[in-house]
């Protein structure tokens, strides 16, 4: 456990030493802020429009159809996931690839630590970095809570969903960076796998039968949408966990074929 902590600390430190970390943070905050406020803007436009309608039609039910949670928060959170689709490959591309390129893997391999500890350290360090990355966006939500009264539940499950999506991305990133010492290739592999999980449900409407079930199951968007709407289903949690474990397992196997123990 102590070694995992040491390795995690080193990983986190390497993120923050590099100026790229701050660029990534700026991009993330700017983009998520941009999406947040455009959703907000769209909402208030609709609000104004419906308010006029209500006075005109004298029907008070119309306004109740507007849901701040669904129209602003769920969309903004989904957009945050979308940003990660592009940023996670960049965040993760160094990981094991750089270690192999700079030959620092020889230091890790000849130190009294196990492969499991190394993978856990890298995984947790990256997860912590991503958590730190999304923390400031809570300020956007706080703004909403200050001016209005949305439901808290979907916000919390939504953030959990983002973290779980990031967790899959990190596991994929570790795997990709373990098979190559070329950072660009690692980033491309991570992006392609993530994108695949992200868009596979788009083709599902054309299909039928068992294939459809499988595709729906693999699709990360399907599982995320529950969480962004405030529903936590154990099946979704199992989905995320099994993908994380699957890619960590692949990472371990790849490393073992390269002589890591």
């Amino acid at each position: 456990m102590k070694m995992v902590y040491v390795l995690m600390q080193k990983e986190l430190k390497q993120f923050f030493i590099s100026p790229i970390a701050y660029v990534v943070m700026m991009i993330y905050l700017a983009l998520s802020g941009f999406f947040f406020f455009t959703n907000m803007e769209a909402f208030s436009q609709q609000y104004k429009y419906l308010k006029n309608m209500m006075q005109y039609l004298n029907n008070p039910d119309i306004l109740a159809r507007l849901n701040l949670n669904e129209m602003v928060i769920a969309r903004a959170l989904f957009n945050m996931v979308f940003i990660f689709l592009f940023l996670l490959p960049l965040i993760m591309m160094k990981s094991f690839a750089e270690e192999q390129k700079q030959k620092t893997d020889e230091l890790l391999k000849t130190s009294p630590i196990t492969l499991n500890q190394i993978i856990a350290g890298k995984y947790l360090g990256s997860l912590l970095f991503v958590t730190i990355l999304i923390l400031p966006t809570i300020a956007y939500q706080a703004l909403l809570f200050y001016y209005s009264s949305p439901e808290l539940g979907p916000v919390i499950t939504g953030y959990l969903g983002i973290l779980l999506f990031a967790s899959i991305g990190i596991a994929i990133g570790l795997f990709a960076s373990s098979i190559t010492e070329n950072q660009i290739i690692a980033a491309v592999i991570t992006f392609v796998i993530l994108l695949f999980l992200f868009i596979i449900n788009l083709i599902s409407h054309a299909q039928g039968s068992i294939l459809l079930d499988i595709i729906t199951y693999i699709s990360v968007a399907e599982h995320l949408s529950n969480m962004l709407r405030g529903v936590i289903d154990t099946r979704d949690l199992i989905y995320f966990l099994s993908f994380i474990i699957f890619f960590l397992f692949l990472t371990k196997k790849t490393m073992e074929t390269k002589g890591w123990r």
């Binding site: 030959k103 620092t104 893997d105 020889e106 230091l107 009294p112 123990r261």
Partner: protein, 239 residues
Amino acid sequence: MIQLHNLVKNYGHFQAVKGVSLEVQKGEILGFLGPNGAGKTTTMRMLTGVIPPTSGTATIDGFDIFDSPLHVKQRIGYLPETPPLYFDFTVKSYLEFVMKIKQVPNVDRKQNLTWAIEKCGLVDVQKRLIGNLSKGYKQRVGLAGAIINKPKVLILDEPTVGLDPKQIREIRSMIQELSQEHTIILSTHILPEVAMICDRAAIIYQGKIVMNDVIANITKEKSLEEVFIEIISKEGAES
């Protein structure tokens, strides 16, 4: 202290190391010699657990590299051919990280750090980023990382490469000093260096050990360099 039993390494169809057996006693310094591509680095990598051997095994301090890798790794310090450095760390923070993963006890850390930094002539650069150091200084940092846990066994792949003459001298005397308590294997192309500091020399050629004897025996009649060249050209003519 160190035993290699018939280590073999295949890269595809190419056999880089063809059954190397060696033994190094406690407190001995073994000079591991051989022309470029002979298999020195490959052998050292197998011994330290960087790459798995195709067949054969090795023990360090009685521990098998397969059965008890962690015990072995607690006992070794390894300087690879390319020093394994994190360029975005300072010298000091790098060495502190190395001590942590090598599990140097908390109470010893300060002392070991000061000792390694002094021994490798890093006092003036300890706060600088490793990436900005010259090649020789990077080599010194790698060396400091290898000795910082005061390991029982030191495995050094061309430790003096890239160093200036003064530093070479200091490192040599450091290696000799360390050999009182440590067992050392070092590879080098500087033959006088071997004659000066090693007790024993093993020459590897095309993946095979072609000579293994104490220095005094080897250099009875000829210089080490003459012996080396002779063996290499003789073996080369045979194969």
